[in-house]
């Protein structure tokens, strides 16, 4: 083990020194703090190793990444059988209760609510802009739009003439029911027929948060590749309709639309799929018909 290292001459300590810094580099990501004793053990072991003594290098490896230490949250086992009190409690309870109350309010006011989820840049805002522009003159339609920062989307959507409100989540990666509650505080729901909620661009976390919507649309653009549904099945499982966006770019992006359809079907059998393009207007009539059928 020590022979090849010694052959590197004066440079021999460098590769190993990089390995020894791994725990602090890991700590900088904010995911965890290495245990002090682990770093101390590494620091103490390094000179011994360089001097050719001490244990072989391989024996230090278990100390380097600290991830396992934060995961092993096991209860201490005693010889007495632990007393377990049975409870049944949904963790999302608070959000679920708020979402249920919202859903009841929406139903009572006769407003149909559709939320849009997708990765950033899939075309949620472009699609909403196209739909609002077509709907706003006649229908009583409004939109809430979520982003970490800026009111760019709200300004963009407001050009349609529909009432629009921006929700800034600051650092949060998804919208929650209480944010919808707050955003609707001074809105008269009875004056609306249709409300869109554009979630933060994210294919992971929004799947766990019910916003009280009647329908959830998951968008996938042709530039994202056909396997998006396979890679992010959870969000597809939480949705009611899949919308393929930017269809005018399918050929240029080399997107196999049939394969994309098949992948959506594989993840969520039976879910309706509508292909559209906000820029050419293709498929928008089909989406509007879907909204009327709600």
């Amino acid at each position: 083990m020590s022979t090849p290292i010694d052959e590197r001459g004066p440079q021999r300590g460098r590769p190993r020194a990089r390995r020894f810094r791994a725990p602090s580099a890991y700590a900088r990501t904010g995911m965890g703090t290495p245990e002090p004793h682990a770093s101390a053990a590494l620091a103490g072991a390094a000179p011994a190793l360089l001097a050719g003594g001490g244990p072989p290098y391989g024996s230090l490896r278990p100390c380097a990444p600290t991830l396992p230490t934060v995961q092993t949250a096991r209860p201490l086992r005693s010889t007495i059988t632990p007393r377990i009190i049975e409870v049944r409690r949904n963790i999302l309870k608070d959000n679920d209760l708020r979402a249920r109350a919202l859903r009841q309010r929406f139903a009572a006011a006769g407003v149909r609510v559709v939320s849009l989820v997708s990765s950033p840049g899939s075309g949620k805002t472009a699609l909403l802009e196209a739909l609002l522009t077509r709907l706003a003159p006649a229908a009583r339609v409004a939109a809430l739009v979520g982003d970490l920062a800026t009111d760019h989307d709200a300004r963009r959507l407001a050009r349609s003439g529909a009432p629009v409100r921006q929700i800034n989540t600051d650092t949060l990666c998804h919208l929650e029911a209480r944010m919808i509650e707050t955003a609707l505080l001074d809105w008269d729901l009875a004056a609306l027929d249709l409300l869109f909620i554009e979630n933060v661009g994210n294919l992971v976390c929004p799947s766990s948060y019910d916003l009280g919507e009647a329908r959830r649309w998951v968008l996938s653009s042709v530039t994202e590749g056909e396997d998006k549904p396979l890679k992010y099945p959870t969000i597809y499982n939480s949705a009611d309709l899949a919308v393929i966006t930017k269809c005018d770019l399918a050929e240029a992006a080399g997107c196999d639309l049939e394969l994309l359809h098949a992948n959506i079907e594989a993840v969520r059998p039976g879910m309706p799929v509508i292909a559209c393009s906000a820029s050419t207007g293709a498929g928008l009539d089909e989406l509007l018909a879907n909204l009327r059928g709600m």
């Binding site: 995911m31 965890g32 934060v70 995961q71 949250a73 096991r74 209860p75 201490l76 005693s78 007495i80 632990p82 007393r83 377990i84 009190i85 049975e86 409870v87 049944r88 409690r89 949904n90 963790i91 999302l92 309870k93 608070d94 959000n95 650092t171 949060l172 990666c173 998804h174 929650e176 992971v204 976390c205 799947s207 766990s208 099945p233 959870t234 969000i235 499982n237 939480s238």
Partner: protein
């Protein structure tokens, strides 16, 4: 971030359950975690440890049971020995 807010909801839930059972000292929280819940067990365990700090639940363990559905629920509180 997502798991951290879930961990905080989890702790609120456990604290409410504890409030309904005076004298109960919890050693571990048992959780059922569905494959379709969108939650990673390791990330949730890590967030739980962070979110527990400074609460009566500090030092308690989180035991997760993997299930195939959408479950995300507390199923048991393991009491500490007296």
């Amino acid at each position: 971030m997502h798991e951290l807010s879930l961990a905080m909801s989890l702790i609120d839930g456990v604290e409410e359950e504890c409030a309904a059972r005076p004298g109960l000292k919890v050693r571990a929280v048992h959780l059922r975690l569905g494959a379709l819940s969108g939650v990673n067990a390791d990330a949730l365990t890590f967030s739980y440890q962070l979110a527990c700090q400074g609460t009566p639940l500090e030092g308690t363990a989180l035991v997760t049971e993997a299930t195939p559905g959408r479950e995300l629920e507390i199923i048991g509180l393991e009491a500490a020995e007296l």
